[in-house]
């Protein structure tokens, strides 16, 4: 019980941080809106269902706002229509990448592991770049995001199959297979870029990672998908703790090692693929945030996983705010690396980090 109450405490605290970051972020932009006005707008958007009408041809759900604060209509439009989708998408993407990164570092027992270690990002990049450069190669009806998502999953699955023999997937083989596939796909992306012509700008833009094209559809789809996947990861948190002792020891303690790895790899891959598909390749969140949070809350995944995911959400919303706040928008992937790397190096030097 003690562990779960600790997890809950951290989750509540970090959710409060995230809510604050979102509120401040939604006020920042060409038009400055004070946080209290943003808070009122967000609270006004909270609705309660009052009645369900089943008489008509379709189900009608009547709702009633919970609060009715006085807000400027222009501000309301800016916050809800323009800024909020991008902010929420940033939160979901940061949440997913940090969660997947935490899981990968645990499975691989390797501090260099990140969500794309089994080729998810490279696969997504090939899918997206192929869509931008040679749309004809992508079957009809699949959009940019679909192409990236499919590319990511196909690649992750291929890496997994290559590394699996007799039902066993040694993590060292998985790591090396992932590195090799990423190098190969890097070459493919290079070739596509060479022949991209007019599309080069769009390709480079996508590869750097950005949240600029966020729509409410993206937000809704990812918000429906992510909690389910995250729930599965959390259910395996204790197994992952034991897995940190090494696979042989974990098996001796009653962990179904191969099945646990399979589930965790698959769920993390889908989580990462969903994030990369809507945002492009945003590095660093999945690599650094889990380390930062581990230094603070310790290695127990029942606490670490939710804490890292929520911290990742705040981190990406904050860095994306920086990315879009200037006169010219910078891809958020550049900001995460530019801000994250020095901070992480500082942590590395100030705390004696010898291992994960």
């Amino acid at each position: 019980m003690r562990v779960w109450s600790e997890a809950l405490t951290w989750s509540i605290a970090l959710t409060a941080v995230l809510a604050t970051v979102i509120t401040v972020s939604a006020g920042i932009g060409p038009v400055w809106i004070p946080p209290d006005a943003v808070a009122k707008i967000l609270l006004n958007a909270v609705v309660l269902p009052t009645a369900v009408d089943l008489s008509g041809p379709s189900v009608e759900l009547s709702t009633q706002p919970l609060f009715r604060f006085q807000v400027a209509e222009l501000h309301r439009q800016i916050v809800l229509r323009v800024r909020l989708p991008r902010i929420l998408l940033g939160a979901v993407v940061g949440f997913s990448l940090a969660a997947a990164g935490t899981i990968m570092q645990g499975i691989f027992r390797n501090p260099m592991a990140d969500p794309s270690i089994i080729g998810v990002s490279s696969g997504a990049a090939v899918g997206a770049v192929a869509f931008l450069v040679v749309p004809a190669a992508i079957p009809f009806g699949i959009g940019l995001r679909g192409a990236a998502f499919l590319g990511a999953l196909v690649t992750a699955f291929a890496v997994y199959l290559i590394a699996t023999e007799d039902g066993r997937t040694p993590v060292a083989t998985l790591l090396l297979a992932g590195v090799a596939i990423q190098a190969f796909l890097g070459a493919v992306i290079g070739v596509l870029q060479l022949y991209s012509g007019e599309g080069l700008r769009a390709v480079v833009h996508w590869l750097m990672g950005h949240l600029g094209n966020a729509s409410w559809t993206d937000v809704t789809i990812t918000l429906l998908l992510v909690p389910v996947l995250f729930g599965i990861l959390l259910a395996y948190a204790r197994d992952l703790n034991v897995l940190l002792l090494g696979e042989e020891a974990a098996a001796g303690l009653g962990v179904e090692v191969e099945r646990t790895k399979r589930v965790l790899l698959a769920v993390s891959a889908v989580l990462t693929a969903a994030a990369v598909a809507v945002s492009g390749v945003i590095g660093f969140v999945g690599l650094i945030v889990p380390h930062m949070v581990r230094l603070v809350v310790g290695p127990d995944h029942r606490v670490l996983l939710p804490a890292a995911a929520l911290a990742g959400a705040s981190f990406l919303v904050a860095t994306d705010t920086v990315a879009r706040a200037g006169a010219t928008e910078i891809p958020v992937g550049i900001v995460t690396a530019a801000l994250g790397a020095p901070f992480f190096l500082y942590l590395l030097r100030s705390r004696e980090v010898h291992s994960l």
Binding site: M1, A235, E256, L356
Partner: protein, 265 residues
């Protein structure tokens, strides 16, 4: 088929085309401390791995209280067999108590949390290994001897009928080695069946009820320490000349290995 906690029946294991264990039979009853001795590469570790389902025998069968290991899930095995490994990755900064509590993993459901039984088992394991004072220390800050005790405590917390130990004393000074084996002995006297691969022949003779001498995967001799440790068996298994006499204080056989020049004796 016997319902003893552990029965290894005519088991062979082939790894990478090599017969590592050949037709070995060992039985451990409740309250038995069985020592596996033999030179490096004799198959001791592989036999222990086979018992906990880590490798699959190519022939023969291993049963735990009458149930074949091959038919049990990792979780079911984890409730029947605990292992003290030679070394382990303890590189994450879990506290001693958390690390020992991982021994309860097989007893707790996926969505469950530790209950009173689990907490008692952890507490008792910490006491038996004199780790109670270190319970809150990160395992990464412990000495080699203390880490070995954490591994033993973790296995004791698992509270299984069968306890396997792979060179539990290999990295320990003589004081810690004796303390470890005293602890195992007391657990065995409480009804556990223990099987330990032990390098130190004198310690094996002193603490084990029975010894199984392995060489190149086969049993050279098995039985009481007195019967197993003789100049002849040691010459056969270790390819070394040794004198076996009796330690007056402990009453156990004592093995003194001699160099090759002793051929003249």
């Amino acid at each position: 088929m016997s319902d003893a906690p552990l029965v290894v029946d005519d088991v062979s294991v082939t790894l990478g085309g090599h017969a590592v264990v050949s037709a070995v039979s060992v039985t451990a009853e409740s309250g038995d401390f069985v020592g596996l001795i033999g030179p490096n590469g004799a198959g001791k570790t592989t036999l222990l791995r086979a018992i906990r389902g880590g490798v699959t025998p190519t022939a023969g069968e291993i049963t735990l209280a009458g149930q074949s290991v091959a038919s049990l899930s990792a979780r079911e095995i984890g409730r029947r067999v605990a292992t003290v490994p030679q070394e382990t990755e303890l590189s994450f900064a879990f506290s001693v108590e958390e690390a020992v509590a991982m021994g309860r993993h097989a007893h707790i459901g996926r969505f469950g949390t530790a209950d009173e039984t689990d907490r008692k088992a952890v507490e008792r394991a910490l006491q038996r290994t004199s780790l109670t004072n270190l319970a809150d220390r990160p395992v990464t800050e412990l000495s080699g001897g203390e880490r070995q005790r954490v591994l033993l405590a973790r296995a004791l917390a698992q509270a299984t009928p069968v306890l396997l130990l792979d060179e539990p004393t290999a990295n320990l000074d003589i004081n810690h080695a004796i303390r470890t084996l005293e602890t195992v002995r007391s657990v065995v006297d409480d009804g556990t069946a223990a099987v330990a691969a032990i390098h130190d022949l004198d310690l094996a003779a002193r603490y084990c009820d029975r010894l199984v001498l392995l060489a190149e995967g086969s049993v050279v001799a098995a039985g009481s320490p007195d019967a197993v440790l003789t100049s002849e068996t040691i010459a056969a298994a270790f390819d070394a000349t040794a004198v076996v006499d009796r330690d007056e204080r402990t009453g156990a056989p004592r093995v003194t290995a001699l160099g090759d020049e002793s051929d003249d004796l």
